[in-house]
Symmetry: C2
């Protein structure tokens, strides 16, 4: 298991309490996290501003990526190893469970290519599927 300190070091970031703990949350979480999730899970141990700045830094370094949502919030998910600074490989499908409300990165499900109208040049795609996850499905 990759430890948070290693991951920080690998990305040229200095190792601080807030970065370690916030990154640890992502490593342990099975779903994506929002800013407020992080505040709750760290019991507001860190200043709100620090959380904003830490998340921003992680996104810039390619440690986490942003997941599109239809409410006005941003969700963040851990990137796979293959992500690099400024060059996200986040073309996997995100799954949002209507029951437990977790958002899960389906790292192994890649976003399919679609045929666009003439003249449109696609560069990257994101996909969010809603439904019931494996734990919540009615079988």
């Amino acid at each position: 298991m990759l430890h948070s300190s290693d991951l920080l070091k690998k990305n040229g970031l200095s190792i601080t309490e807030s970065r370690k703990q916030i990154l640890e949350l992502f490593l342990l979480s099975d779903g994506a996290l929002s800013h407020s999730d992080i505040e709750k899970k760290t019991s507001a141990a860190f200043d709100r501003v620090t959380v904003y700045r830490t998340l921003q830094t992680f996104v810039e370094k390619g440690i986490i990526h942003q997941i599109p949502t239809t409410d006005n919030s941003i969700l963040y998910g851990l990137c796979k190893d293959s992500c690099e600074a400024g060059h996200h490989h986040d073309e996997h499908v995100h799954f949002l469970c209507n029951s437990c409300n977790k958002t899960i990165c389906l790292d192994d499900v890649t976003v399919p290519h679609v045929k666009l109208p003439n003249g449109f040049k696609p560069l990257q795609s994101a996909m969010v599927v809603k439904g019931f996850c494996d734990d919540c499905k009615v079988s």
Copy 2:
């Protein structure tokens, strides 16, 4: 061309100045609009609160739909005729242009089905493709 008053009437909404003008914006716009787009385009003729409530009403009635974004904002796009209250048919692809920054509903491009891991039950999918649109493409 469908007129805003007809569309309001069809959805059982009373016809007011703000609803007419905001809906007109959507009918004339070639891209999706955010709350602040609407404030700008109406020159703040209406109270900010009215805009919030109008957009919410339109979403409930199925006149517009929300488009997922990775910044913390909500974009709204006009629904096709087939949308009904509480039952959106917005499974089309949304295109976000990196150059002109417009978000366009590609009504004719439906979101493809993806094979999910065992146990996941999909109900609806959303897809956003980024790139260059027809107007901005480098040819």
